[in-house]
């Protein structure tokens, strides 16, 4: 088994209302950032896992996103990076 560190990016699908992003947009404009057009808020998750190889790790991460970490009705997910680790990490 090898150990991997992965970064997942979960974002709201286009067209899904993001009131938190809208609030941040308004606040940025209030601070004088006239350049801001929109803010969309998402999530970053760092997952440490063990797998036989990177392909196996990616398959596991995909299943994790599909089953729990993302709500695919409203969210997209992306496995941004999968890095092999030297040793296991807590």
């Amino acid at each position: 088994m090898q150990h991997f560190s992965a970064r997942l990016i979960i974002t709201l699908k286009n067209g899904v209302l993001d009131p938190q992003g809208q609030a941040s947009t308004g606040a940025l404009k209030g601070l004088g950032f006239g350049s801001v057009q929109s803010v969309r808020q998402g999530k970053v998750m760092d997952v440490v896992l063990s797998a036989a190889d990177e392909t196996g790790a990616r398959a596991d991460l995909t299943a994790m996103c599909e089953k729990l970490l993302a709500n695919t009705v409203i969210e997209n997910y992306e496995i941004k990076t999968v890095d092999q680790m030297e040793t296991a990490s807590a």
């Binding site: 899904v16 209302l17 009131p19 609030a23 089953k67 729990l68 970490l69 709500n71 009705v73 409203i74």
Partner: protein, 223 residues
């Protein structure tokens, strides 16, 4: 009629629900802990109460929907048992895949705690049988994430199949829900999820007892 009220870490409307169910059905419901692996054998209906299960971590209802007891709740629901989810319970039913769509942050970004007007759009649910389609009644809401969204195709399906059970009436939509949706059912009709709290308009000391009719409907359905 033995109702099971499922308790999750962070449920906080469970006692209101237990009191309302006990008052109307004249029988104390069983309280089922989320980590239990099965519903009591005597269970004839399941209610998921409101609250903030698992602190709304990840997404509202997401962790609770994967709790051990939910395997049996999902099985019972698919076998036709009446299942009601109120507020956080509605969020859990959606996250469990028993109902379509998603419940997002209120469009106002405000937690809303007030009464709204509801219109019964379909009374095919076991919990709405004593209402007539078109009946409008007042009911409390208290939530921060009740903004129902779904894709256009899913919305058309809900409409065509008569699965929008309750909608906000008289421009009282408190959260921005698409099509003023306050509650929906599954295709078979036995699973109902709704944001408003009928259990808080049921007992004699509460401002209204109209919500009791949902539990009376369940009794009539079972009779």
């Amino acid at each position: 009629m033995t109702v099971a009220v499922v308790l999750f870490p962070g449920s906080n409307r469970d006692q209101d629900m237990i009191d309302a169910v006990a008052h109307v059905t004249r029988r104390a419901p069983n309280t089922v802990w989320h980590a239990d692996t099965a519903l009591p054998a005597s269970t004839s209906a399941v209610v998921l109460p409101g609250g903030f299960s698992y602190g709304d971590y990840l997404r509202c209802g997401a962790i609770a929907a994967r709790a051990p007891v939910m395997t049996d709740v999902i099985k019972a629901a698919n076998d036709g048992m009446p299942v009601l989810g109120v507020c956080n319970g509605f969020q859990i039913l959606i996250e469990a895949g028993l109902l379509p769509g998603a419940l997002m942050r209120n469009a106002s970004l405000q937690f809303v705690c007030k009464t709204v007007d509801l219109t019964v759009q379909s009374n095919s649910s076991p919990f709405l049988g004593t209402f007539a389609v078109g009946d409008t009644w007042t009911c409390p809401v208290a939530h921060g994430d009740g903004n129902y969204v779904c894709g256009e195709d899913a919305l058309k399906e809900l409409q065509d199949e008569g699965r929008i059970a309750l909608s906000y009436a008289n421009e009282s939509n408190p959260n921005g829900s698409v099509a003023d949706i306050a509650g929906i059912t599954n295709r078979a009709g036995n699973v109902l999820g709704m944001m408003p709290h009928p259990e808080n308009f049921t007992l004699p000391h509460q401002p209204s007892q109209i919500g009791a009719r949902m539990f009376e409907s369940l009794l009539s359905h079972a009779a």
